[in-house]
Symmetry: C2
Subunit: 349 residues, 2 copies
């Protein structure tokens, strides 16, 4: 999630006071983060509803997105900070219907980092970028003293060109739209947490980190103007992504709990750790609001690609309770799926 | 300076060994940094001669640049980390003959930073961007635990559109070109160092941090194809900028020492601290290689703008000693102006 999005602007968060300090929870993708962004983004005069911005330079339409990566550990099952940075940025572009055309790479390095590690990350950035068919065109390296960073931070920025016919936006959802999810949730967050804390869950699972631009393009081709909104549920998980889109679109979301794919290993880890899988970060799936008349065609197109092989419909948009996400549980009751207040899993991406 | 540039690729630096670690000097803009970049950039397959990259998306030509800012202190006479980030990125675009059309902003924040400070920096980013006529279109905020960063790091990326008729490139210099400098050198570096260490020099001076895109545009309008190369001498100072351009252009540079404008406060501070003003960072001046037939017109255009009021000719390009910068001193002798090996002033930008 980027500072671009401010789900609480409409609901008037309590103003942050003068003497408050930044908390880990301010980086969570949850309610504290939303409050921080509601405080900061008006100072920039920036539109605050997307992770990637459209830049008007004439045709073609240019889309830009930026993301910092501070994940710890830097190497984990399924990826590393380098591949994660490339995928995260490519995916933010893809969620605006854009094909990536260039990436930039900025390192902040702590003095004393083994050069071999910097080489490994750089090789991983290069390999991931090649696999996405996007060049790394420029970069920057800053070195800070020991103790002034934790090894390595990576900031990537992507420049993309919008696909003709792509009209996706966070505000695009309409009542009646199908809510589609491209694959199982919770894998990235549980993998990072387990690897970092030595919990052992990571032996059975790996991060889902991967690029989604080809999947998004296939969906837009199959669904045309019927693909109304796309979002990759990263920090804050599926819950944050759906709450953000619901708020921006002014619609309610009704989820069908049994339809939400949670891998058994993720469910087991979340049970043990007291986490809600809906709040756990993902780096390789997307959620979409799609016109019901095109939902079948879009779902077929998703399933035809490896990264969408397990795509499924998880719910429907409704006119009632705009901005709220409601889950119909297995036993037929309903519950509100809300943003977390603070930090569940710091430094997950 | 960004990782885009690798002045030593042609001169075969000693390969870095397996067990080496990143040193502060690897971020210096000097020879150690050049060696690190020579090691890393081939892994990215990135062209390695500019701070900003041209992206081919059709017309108009898009230019992209990224830079991380880790300056300490974050607030200093003449600016702060926010305005510095905006100016630095706008200037990297300007050095490719591009007008900025969009900025992105990524924060890495240490837990515990006073929110008021984050607000001040954000307001400063916004004010600097407005003054440059460029919007901040998207951003990202990551929070890391106490001790995992030093307060706040800022990474900005700029997207620009190249001016019609701009043919500037690092490799554009030709023997006979005039070497023009837009203003006095050393102000930024001495201000930061003096403020950080409490040396007291900063009472008389301030950082020269400011945008140079309007100056660059005026030069290109006045000089047309005669403006061959532009560079802002940031990390590593005028020495690094000239060495980089000389290497990329395959020409020698002859500087005239009395013509290089060093403010008395900078000279005094450098004398006392054992620094060479040619190695001290700047954030508000540029150096240009210009066709001698257009140099007069370009110099007039520079002097007509406040940021170029003190523009002057400091030397000439020669066919001899390609890649080397030679200074004719006051007493008529010559000396080689080389890259520093390691770190002179860490965290200067």
């Amino acid at each position: 999630m980027s500072t671009g999005f401010d789900p609480l602007a409409a609901t008037c968060p309590a103003p942050l006071t003068e003497d408050e300090r930044v908390l880990l929870g301010h980086g969570s993708g949850g309610r504290l983060m939303a409050e921080l962004l509601a405080d900061l983004t008006p100072r920039l005069g920036a539109p605050a509803t997307e992770d990637a911005a459209l830049v008007t330079t004439g045709a073609p339409e240019i889309v830009v997105s930026t993301d910092g990566f501070v994940v710890t550990p830097r190497f984990f099952p399924g990826g590393d900070i380098g591949s994660l940075a490339v995928h995260g940025t490519v995916n933010d572009l893809a969620m605006r219907g854009a094909v990536p055309v260039a990436l930039t790479l900025a390192y902040i390095v702590e003095e004393g980092l083994p050069l071999e590690e910097l080489r490994r990350v750089t090789a991983s950035v290069a390999a991931a970028a090649r696999a996405c068919d996007v060049p790394v065109v420029t970069g920057d390296t800053k070195v800070v003293g020991r103790g002034a960073a934790d090894g390595l931070y990576v900031t990537t920025t992507g420049v993309g060109v919008r696909l003709p016919g792509a009209h996706v936006s966070a505000a695009g959802g309409r009542p009646g739209d199908a809510v589609l999810l491209s694959g199982p949730i919770g894998l990235h967050g549980v993998t990072i947490l387990s690897t970092r804390e030595g919990l052992g869950f990571e032996t059975g699972i790996a991060s889902d980190s991967r690029p989604l631009h080809r999947l998004a393009a296939a969906m837009i081709t199959a669904g045309s103007c019927g693909v109304h909104a796309l979002r990759d549920p990263t920090r804050g998980g599926l819950s944050a992504a759906l709450n953000e889109l619901a708020a921006a679109s002014g619609v309610g979301v009704e989820l069908d709990e049994p339809a939400v794919p949670v891998p058994p290993e993720v469910a087991a880890a979340c049970d043990l750790l007291g986490l809600d899988p809906l709040h756990v970060a993902n780096e390789g799936c997307l959620v979409a609001f799609v016109d019901p008349a095109r939902a079948g065609a879009v779902l077929s197109a998703m399933r035809a690609r490896p990264e969408g092989a397990q795509a499924t419909r998880i719910g429907t948009l409704v006119a009632g309770h705009p901005g709220r996400v409601i889950m119909r549980t297995l036993v037929g009751s309903t519950r509100v799926v809300d943003l977390l207040v603070g930090e569940q899993l710091p430094r997950i991406c």
